[in-house]
């Protein structure tokens, strides 16, 4: 029990240290406006990609429609905060987005998660496309022109705090009763059923949780960029999120962080290369697929606990 407290305290310290570090770098001017935007986009991508990794890496269900849930979060928050432009409005917007995305994921998940692999990917892609088309045609969402002048209620610290919270939720979920059941579905559905695991239920739980968290990424996007329109949430965005997951390692949250940072920085450097950027992007992905198909980190995770027990074990041996 005491040990758990210690590990949690260390994680908290790391989170606070990261915050202070960015804050200090901003103060002394190392992080300018441009770098800050890059950091914010990396943070939003981390939220989107870790939530997709929950679905793909941990429940083993291939979803290609994550941008759809992001869109629901973005539009919910944009509409709510335009009406109530305050921190309270933003929190309400987040909540509305999570509920809407969660309900849509539930309704979509119940029939589609019975499908296997390829069909599921196509079905989720279709759902994201339907969401986009609906947003493109509704009056309240202002059709293809989208929403603008959305109050800027998210800054880098909002993003930072939400990255920490959503990562904590995902990691704690994975290392719990429900999360282990979800992983058993990925490992072997027949074996899971044979020990009483309702595989459909756990697939749906992971899918709904992933969708709700993706909506948070969408809300941050809307309230930071301040303009959104349906084309922001097309299949390309779903693929961009997927690329981060695959590059980092399917099933590794740490890998998702690393990949989101690498791609974010690559993106910043390649800013002036225009279309060449996409070529280099694709090239990087192909190289990874060829030389390390399991992604940069495979399923490896950074762990404070292991770091400590490892040291102790070494110490004992000496």
């Amino acid at each position: 029990m005491k040990k758990n407290l210690k590990y949690n305290a260390i994680w908290l310290a790391i989170a606070i240290l990261g915050y202070v570090l960015i804050y200090a770098l901003e103060m002394v001017g190392v992080i300018d406006q441009f770098a800050e935007t890059t950091l914010v986009l990396i943070g939003i991508n981390i939220i989107l990609a870790t939530s997709l990794n929950l679905v793909i890496g941990f429940s083993g269900q291939f979803s290609l429609g994550h941008a759809g849930f992001m869109a629901l979060g973005a539009y919910s928050s944009a509409l709510v905060t335009s009406a109530i432009p305050s921190v309270g409005g933003f929190l309400l917007g987040l909540l509305v987005g999570m509920i809407v995305a969660g309900i849509v994921a539930l309704v979509v998940g119940i029939p589609t998660l019975r499908l296997n692999g390829d069909y599921l990917a196509i079905a989720t892609m279709g759902v994201a496309e339907i969401i986009r088309i609906i947003l493109n045609n509704l009056k309240i969402t202002n059709g293809p022109a989208g929403l603008y002048n959305i109050p800027m209620l998210a800054n880098w610290s909002t993003v930072y705090v939400l990255v920490v919270i959503t990562t904590l939720i995902i990691v704690n979920f994975v290392h719990s009763r429900n999360g282990r059941a979800v992983m058993s579905v990925r490992e072997d559905e027949i074996a899971a059923e044979s020990i009483g695991i309702n595989t459909t239920k756990y697939k749906i739980i992971a899918f709904v949780l992933g969708a709700a968290i993706a909506s948070i990424g969408g809300a941050l996007h809307a309230n930071y960029i301040q303009t959104i329109n349906p084309t922001d949430f097309g299949i390309m965005e779903s693929i961009n999120i997927l690329i981060i997951v695959v590059l980092g390692g399917i099933g590794s949250i740490t890998g998702t962080f690393v990949a989101a940072f690498l791609l974010g920085i690559l993106d910043m450097i390649l800013q002036n290369f225009g279309t060449l950027r996409m070529v280099l992007y694709s090239l990087a992905l192909i190289l990874i697929m060829v030389f390390k198909p399991s992604g940069l980190l495979g399923t490896w995770e950074f762990s404070v606990r292991r770091l400590f027990t490892h040291k102790k074990a070494k110490g004992d041996a000496e």
Binding site: M1, M183, E187, D188, I190, A191
Partner: protein
Amino acid sequence: MPLLDVKDLTKNFGGLAAVSDVTMHLDNNELVALIGPNGAGKTTLFNLLTGVIIPSEGTVSLQTDKGLQVLNKQKPYKIAAEGMARTFQNIRLFKDLTVEENVLIAMTDKNKEGFLESIFRLPSFYKKEAALHQQVVELLSIFKMENQLTTLARNLPYGAQRRLEIVRALATKPKILFLDEPAAGMNPEETADLTRLIQQIQSEFHITVLLIEHDMSLVMNLAERIYVLEYGKLIAEGTPKEIQGNQRVINAYLGGGD
């Protein structure tokens, strides 16, 4: 009143009657063997009993706390929850998870840990996890695997993988344990260990075991009763002595039947 009552169970794969008209029963705390030549339909019968495949005809009913329940057409996870646990002929472990996780997952239903409790890591979460950990260690120590808690299942030696699959099935606290060729691929020493272990499980956990096995010495040592399957049909039932002397069984095994 038998614990498990199977009536006229039939499964056709296209034109092939893999299991046909099987009527059998299992009583409380019995150790029964199911034998038969390759392709006789033994695994298919297990799959029918545990809901992995749906029978073409017939019924499977189990005596539960809520009275006699018809199990066929129920989802496998529901059948498992009623107290029917199994192992697989081709080991099906959660290979990229640890030994401990493999067993913990089998306790999912008994674990009352809530969603928010685990997300927020409340003290009650740690308490429940610690209690579960204790149970896993106790169960694994019966099988002398308590030192391999953090080993990935895929890295276990073959014999240990078979044992882990049995532990995982036992962790669901079953009424009946179905073992599909647990000694397959084991050396004589491991097989002898396994024989003792199955006896131990049965007496310690007070459960019924139905065992598919090709190793006749193991079957004759362990089983109180034997069912013999050939071409999907039950051709004999009786004590090991009776089965050893049964002409149809001898023919089936020597291939002199037709």
